[in-house]
Symmetry: C2
Subunit: 206 residues, 2 copies
DNA sequence: AGTACGATGTGGACAGTGTCAAGACCTGAG
DNA sequence: CTCAGGTCTTGACACTGTCCACATCGTACT
């Protein structure tokens, strides 16, 4: 149970929660370890014992985000005809974009984080990201089996779809999307874009 | 000409150059005004007189990037049949992705920058970004005139294409693309993805 | 039981940072 | 020649990330 005063009990979780708050309020650019510690009601250098580094804390937060997104993917995939690749892909795309807009704090840290982490390959962070991307890859494999996508193009289609989702999410969250969307809710844009993708994948034209 | 010792002469340009160097070396997360000043051979608070703020310096660098990209767009568009929307779009996409990979310093600052800048709308930064996006919009208008895209879908197609370019560029620069691309140069991925897009836009299937 | 140990949290220190204010320096218009 | 305004310097302040020595707690071992 830990004494009231000294040991926190679940500082690990509390710090991740504080990170979420701060990032949501001020963007992750001016997140500070000391303020996260302050919000968790703990001394300024306590976080080091749990995450080692500022980098470590942000990595842990990003991993948490990937796990949340992966869970959404799996929940979505379970509620859809597992043999229809287009349906599956649309639901994954919707889940991805919805997550990005509903939880921008996690999303921006997951992707806006540090470029070219020194030892990124093989790290827990990269594995969490790969686990996420695997869901998308499997859906594209389904498309190949259905003859909607040539096998030689599978990797490029997967890249294109993930890129499109990521790009749209990033641009939307950064307010970089053109002003003629001001009359739209995000759901409207989502429906419109998904309609275009579905039209393209089903062989017609946009 | 300015004296050798006191006045720098072209500190504005020199600081932007220093930013480019530092971002290329260490990522823009740990860029510091003081180091930029140091590299320009100038006192630690000289930059404030030109850019006011760290935010201001990064904004200026981002604007420079948007201008460079817009220039590439215009050069590309001039070298292509101005009546073929698909050709035009492919050349714009290639220019975009090539720029992002060749000049990641500018690119990451242009887009990895600060979320939800307070007074972003109407700022010179947003205008530079809009000028860039206009080139893409015009190409989609061409597609509509050619009957390849329904007018009602035009906005979504533009969003989808820009999103795809942005997403792929960001993922590539962050080494987030799946490891099965290790055997590819970026040109190979670019060719593959462009082939898929062209196939989709021309009405076949991927 | 008691004791040593590792995990957890504290406090102080250090260099580095962004920003502000006051002043030194130079240029050019009057 | 003067003096006003843009350019640059110096000094200061609060804040940050990281390191260190130390305090406190739970626990496994003897």
């Amino acid at each position: 149970m830990a004494t009231d005063t000294y040991h926190h009990g679940d500082l690990h979780r509390a710090l991740l929660g504080a990170v979420g708050e701060i990032v949501a309020e001020k963007g992750f650019q001016d997140l500070s370890l000391r303020e996260a510690a302050r919000r968790a009601g703990v001394s300024h250098s306590a976080p080091a014992h749990h995450f080692g580094d500022k980098e470590g804390l942000l990595d842990a937060f990003a991993i948490e985000g990937f796990e949340l997104l992966t869970a959404r993917f799996d929940a979505t995939a379970a509620a859809v005809d597992p043999d229809d690749g287009v349906d599956l892909l649309e639901s994954l795309g919707r889940a991805y974009l919805t997550f990005a807009v509903e939880d921008p704090a996690h999303y921006t840290v997951m992707f806006g984080h540090d470029k070219t982490h020194d030892d990124y390959v093989g790290s827990p962070l990269s594995e969490a990201g790969d686990a996420c991307f695997d869901r998308l890859t499997q859906a594209v494999v389904l498309l190949v089996r259905q003859g909607r996508v040539a096998e030689a193009d599978a990797r490029y289609v997967a890249t294109l779809l993930w890129g499109a989702c990521h790009g749209i999410a990033a641009l939307w969250n950064d307010d970089k999307l053109p002003h003629f969307y001001e009359d739209h809710t995000f759901e409207g844009v989502l429906d419109g874009v998904m309609g275009v993708i579905r039209g393209l994948l089903e062989g017609g034209r946009a």
